[in-house]
């Protein structure tokens, strides 16, 4: 009961800054029954469908716009975009320099940008430095170049351990780092978004930029895998 009241207060505080909060607090008990409905949605398919119909009926969203958004998330965004950036950096030293100095501008040169890709920082891996990106507080991720994050990236095991035991996490991903390698973990809890520039694998000197891009997987740009000289199984 105490918890519920506190929660109601917080909910009130977030939505109605200032004076109205006190008013809502006074009515906190009225809200108790609402919170019962806040538990796990019993059937998300039905609930979300119902919410969509309501929002369309009220003119709050346009169904066709939702269709285009879904299509964009599923087919236009994704790690192939980031892979093109990485491959360009591998074959064009001047581009790589621009990318490390001003990632937003360099990524825009290839035509990517927009939401969750506005303030990019590119982190270069070397034989002695392994960068690893996490968002311990939620799920921050560079949509513009990697698409939406995988479930494991947003999950408690990864978020909790990446900062305290990065070497253990990397071992779980199959990477055994030498002791003299420096691990730099980037907890992207602010508005900056991070992309790892993985090392170009040996034996790829004769590959075209396009062929190189095909080697670059999502995981290598989060920092939990190395790029393999041949197209591998990981996404």
């Amino acid at each position: 009961m105490v918890d519920t009241t506190r929660r109601d207060f917080l909910t009130a505080a977030v939505t109605t800054a200032g004076t109205a909060a006190a008013h809502n607090l006074a009515h906190a008990e009225d809200h108790d029954h609402d919170h019962a409905h806040q538990a796990v949605p019993s059937d998300p398919t039905l609930r979300v469908k119902s919410l969509e119909s309501l929002l369309v009926e009220k003119g709050l969203v346009d169904r066709a716009a939702l269709d285009v958004l879904v299509d964009t998330y599923e087919h236009k965004l994704g790690p192939r975009n980031g892979a093109r950036v990485v491959a360009r950096a591998w074959v064009d030293p001047a581009y790589k320099q621009r990318l490390l100095a001003d990632a937003d501008a360099a990524i825009a040169e290839i035509g990517f940008g927009g939401q969750q890709g506005e303030h990019m920082i590119v982190l270069e891996n070397t034989p002695k430095v392994q960068n690893l990106v996490v968002c311990t507080l939620c799920s921050c991720y560079p949509w513009a170049v990697l698409g939406l994050p995988p479930v494991w990236y947003k999950s408690a095991p990864y978020r909790s351990r990446a900062v305290i035991d990065p070497r253990g996490v990397l071992r779980e991903f199959g990477m055994d780092l030498a002791e003299d390698v420096e691990v730099r973990v980037w907890d992207s809890t602010a508005d900056l978004r991070y992309l790892v520039l993985p090392e170009r694998p040996p034996g790829t000197e004769n590959l075209t930029e396009e062929a190189l891009a095909a080697l670059v997987t999502r995981d290598t740009m989060i920092g939990v895998a190395k790029v393999m000289p041949r197209e591998g199984g990981q996404p």
Partner: protein, 221 residues
């Protein structure tokens, strides 16, 4: 708020469950919800920080029981109701209340593509804010603070010594902005913390954790 969402450094959460060839969405409803969340943002009744904070307010046991997008659903409904775009009765019934006005959606299909293709707009960096209090190379300490509201200063990094590595420019301050208490624009820095400063001797001596810190989170050290 010292909630369970702030999980950096927690232990015993189990193995990382990796899914090969993972789809972007695991169900249609996740995709529709994601799109609705994005489209509704254009009503500008809340900001991205509010939206994050709303999910942080989900009680701990529910937070862990819910999937990522189930938390989105709960958070979005709360935002919609609290901002009075819909009523809880409407959500429960799925029907528009009789006599309620019909709005015009702020986002139409032809306006979606430009949101993803336009060159990155460095809006935050052009904000005018307080002058930077710290310089690159300066040693700093994070505040030991435990605010009850939204914050981006993770618990594991409070009261710790670090080094300013980069000045990212000016950004709005989530701690106030999430609760509509003002944008309070200020500098954000990349701060390097030695892993041993955070975790003690069990960490490798050369490892580090880098966290972006708003000016207000720091003091000279």
């Amino acid at each position: 708020m010292n909630g369970v969402h702030d999980m950096g450094g927690m232990q015993d959460m189990g193995p990382i469950r990796y899914e090969k060839n993972e789809p972007v969405f695991h169900a249609r409803w996740e995709a529709r919800l994601h799109a609705m969340n994005r489209a509704l943002g254009l009503w500008r009744k809340w900001n991205g920080y509010t939206s994050r904070y709303q999910k942080e307010l989900i009680p701990p046991a529910d937070y862990f029981r819910m999937s990522y997008y189930e938390r989105w659903y709960v958070g979005l409904v709360e935002l919609l109701v609290n901002s009075k775009l819909v009523t809880r009765t409407e959500v429960e019934s799925g029907k528009r209340a009789q006599g309620s006005p019909k709005a015009t959606p702020p986002l139409t299909a032809d306006q979606v593509a430009p949101m993803f293709t336009k060159p990155a707009a460095p809006a935050s960096r052009e904000l005018r804010g307080a002058a930077p209090r710290f310089q690159v190379g300066q040693r700093v300490r994070t505040l030991n603070m435990n605010p009850i509201g939204h914050t981006r200063l993770p618990r594991y990094a409070r009261g710790r010594f670090g080094m300013i590595e980069r000045d990212h420019g000016v950004f709005v301050f989530p701690d106030t902005n999430a609760q509509f208490l003002g944008e309070k624009p200020q500098h954000v820095y990349s701060v390097r913390f030695a892993a041993r400063e955070l975790w003690g001797e069990q960490a490798a001596p050369q490892d580090s954790v880098h966290i972006d810190m708003w000016d207000d989170y720091l003091e000279p050290a």
